[in-house]
């Protein structure tokens, strides 16, 4: 089952396209990181998936074949929007009451237990909570709905490093306990690897890269060697990014298999951050699951 599946999805805001021709399928059982620069269409894609935005073109479905935003979908999909907007004039306890009243499946004790373990009191107004507590409250409210899919838009954006660490730790525990799928967007690439196991890179409104993180990392190599031979390497491997470093050159290549590098060249693995940054620097390069990727699960194509 795919937790989010889009086909030719596009969303236009007045004159500009927030998302364009986005075809994507995110399999269930992953923690999916959705990354991309500002304005890449991350929020638009997530809003389309939870029914907050209506697609201009194409389709989007969640959890198999439920129409995004339908009552059946809303019953099983929880969403925490960017900055986690909650009713700041309500107390934490009243916010729990409100969530209980708006969701049949809301598990109040689950939420209370979570807040107690985080030492978040129930009596203050939501507006008085710290940024970290606020984000944790929004997460607790979403998890207490026992969703099959949890969608988080920039959950880390306004958190300090400690709160960020705690938030991700709690998210991972919840996923381990409940076995739900998570899709979250983020600017913060450095911390993704610890949490996410599936990556979608959006750039300028299109999907640039999508796949399991281990798989993506295994299929890229950083080759270092003499600068004058760089063009020869380009004939052997698809080059994602070339970085001249004095007399030597650093090439991030898409190596189909870990074959030995040509003489005079050294191969090393790439980190997720290097990989993502390389792709983001050149939006014309993409690596997407090929036509048979869903069945084969391994074949990827690099297009330039």
């Amino acid at each position: 089952m795919n937790v989010i599946e889009t086909s030719g999805l596009g969303k236009r805001y007045r004159r500009t396209w927030g998302l364009r021709d986005c075809t994507l399928s995110i399999p269930a059982g992953h923690i999916v990181a959705l990354v991309g620069p500002n304005g890449a269409g991350k929020t638009t894609l997530l809003h389309c998936s939870v029914g907050l935005a209506t697609p201009t073109t194409g389709q989007v479905s969640v959890l198999g074949c439920l129409a995004a935003g339908s009552l059946d979908a809303l019953e099983r999909v929880a969403f925490v929007a960017q900055d986690a907007p909650l009713h700041s004039y309500l107390t934490v306890a009243a916010m729990l009451d409100l969530s209980r009243d708006l969701n049949r499946r809301f598990d109040r004790r689950h939420a209370e237990h979570r807040l107690r373990s985080l030492a978040i009191p129930l009596h203050p107004k939501v507006g008085k909570l710290s940024g970290g507590q606020h984000a944790q409250l929004a997460l607790a409210l979403a998890l207490a709905r026992h969703p099959d899919l949890l969608v988080l838009d920039e959950p880390l954006a306004r958190l300090d490093p400690l709160a960020r660490h705690d938030f991700l730790a709690h998210l991972m525990i919840a996923v381990a306990e409940d076995g739900l799928s998570v899709v979250f967007s983020s600017h913060v690439i450095s911390e993704l690897e610890r949490v996410a196991d599936y990556l979608v890179v959006l750039s300028a409104g299109r999907v640039q890269m999508a796949g399991a993180i281990d798989d993506l990392l295994a299929r890229h190599r950083l080759l270092t060697g003499p600068a004058e031979q760089a063009s020869r390497i380009g004939e052997l491997f698809p080059v994602v990014q070339a970085r001249p470093a004095g007399r030597s050159a650093e090439l991030l290549v898409r190596a189909a298999e870990p074959a030995g590098p040509p003489g005079g060249w050294q191969a090393s693995g790439v980190t997720l951050e290097e990989l993502v940054l390389a792709y983001l620097r050149d939006p014309s390069v993409s690596v997407l699951p090929g036509p048979s990727a869903l069945s084969a699960g391994t074949r990827h194509e690099v297009t330039r």
Binding site: E5, T54, D72, A81, L90
Partner: protein, 360 residues
């Protein structure tokens, strides 16, 4: 990529509207506004009861003296009626307050209802909960509508009870613009209209302050228009015409006949009065004034005992006419006004829901 089939609700799946949880959710979110509304309404109700109790003894004397009987000539009745007239200030203030109340409900409950969610971004929370945005907005508006309509219906009924003695004595009329819009029927209708206007403008503007200002202007503007012209046009629809005799006590002009005063058109609403000349044609206002002056002069000459305006008028081949709404039509007109307002309110509210469904 597998084929995408974005299906709607599978056959047989039902999502019943959770009224009770939604009532709690509405109370949680609107608590401050609703408590304020109840406090203001309680204060108004107390003022109405106090006002009614203050005129109670006076009215009892008026009734006991037989002043309500047809054509009472007891001079005492005139004195009581004058005392009554002196106590209309408090009454008028309350009538004005009840005109302002629906506008305030539109401004402080209707306008922020959606605009606050849009402005603060909490719609991203509420509209993605299991209830779904359409049902969430529809049930919230419906529940608030019932609450404010119930409160204002009680206030309208109380004001009618307070107004009754004034109506009988002839100082005020339930047909007149101020009272016509504040009965137990029209006051809730105006309130629903203002609430829906606020909800729609809040949805359109997405800004709390803008929504509140435009709601005050729109709902207030409608109310003022009703006060000055709309009510008058409504109440002239299908008016009956009758030839008036002087015994009816009506000569010309938009004067109301006191309810229960026993005259021919008791409790009815005089839409218009005019005079026709010997040829049967309606006299111009200037001509009518001249005829009236001649008649008064003739009456004065004839002396008090011999004065008979009716005889003078018919002797000179003039005729007085009135068009009026009979007393029995009062509640029909109330129903018409209320139905029009509620229909507008429903259209506004459904437009807001439609805009919210389309949003995004």
């Amino acid at each position: 990529m597998t084929a995408l089939t974005a299906r709607a609700t599978p056959a047989g799946r039902r999502h019943p509207v959770p009224w009770r949880p939604m009532a709690r959710a509405t109370w949680l979110q609107q608590r401050a506004a609703l408590i304020t509304l109840l406090a203001v309404s309680a204060a108004l109700a107390l003022a109405i009861v106090a006002g009614q109790l203050a005129i109670r003894a006076l009215y009892a004397r008026y009734v006991a003296d037989g002043c309500v009987l047809p054509q009472s000539t007891d001079p005492n009745c005139g004195t009581v009626a004058n005392t009554f007239a002196a106590s209309t200030n408090a009454f008028t203030a309350l009538v004005i307050a009840l005109h302002v109340l629906p506008v305030l409900i539109g401004v402080f409950i209707g306008a922020p209802l959606i605009s606050r969610e849009l402005e603060s971004g909490t719609f991203r929370f509420t509209w993605t909960q299991e209830i779904g945005r359409t049902r969430y907005v529809l049930t919230t508006v419906a529940l608030l509508a019932v609450a404010v309509a119930a409160v204002t219906c009680v206030l309208g009924a109380l004001l009618g009870w307070y107004a009754h003695p004034f109506d009988v004595v002839g100082d005020e009329s339930r047909w007149q613009a101020g009272l016509f819009d504040t009965t137990a029927v029209t006051l809730p209708a105006w309130t629903l209209f203002a609430l829906a206007t606020g909800t729609l403008l809040g949805t359109l503007t997405g800004r709390i302050v803008t929504a509140m200002a435009t709601t005050a202007a729109t709902a207030g503007g409608f109310l003022v228009a009703a006060f000055w012209t709309l009510d008058r046009h409504l109440l002239s629809l299908g008016a009956l015409t009758a030839r008036a005799s002087a015994a009816d006590g009506v000569f010309a002009g938009p004067l109301n006949v006191p309810a229960g005063s026993g005259f021919g058109l008791a409790g009815s609403w005089l839409v218009r009065g005019w005079i026709t000349g010997p040829g049967g044609r309606e006299l111009s206002a200037a001509m009518a004034d001249r005829v009236q002056s001649r008649m008064y002069a003739a009456m004065t000459r004839a002396g008090k005992k011999a004065a008979d305006p009716a005889a003078w008028v018919s002797a000179h081949h003039y005729a007085q006419w009135v068009s009026y709404q009979p007393a029995g039509r009062f509640w029909y007109f109330q129903a018409i006004a209320a139905a029009a307002l509620v229909a507008l309110a429903v259209v506004f509210a459904l437009t807001a829901v439609w805009l919210i469904r389309r949003r995004g």
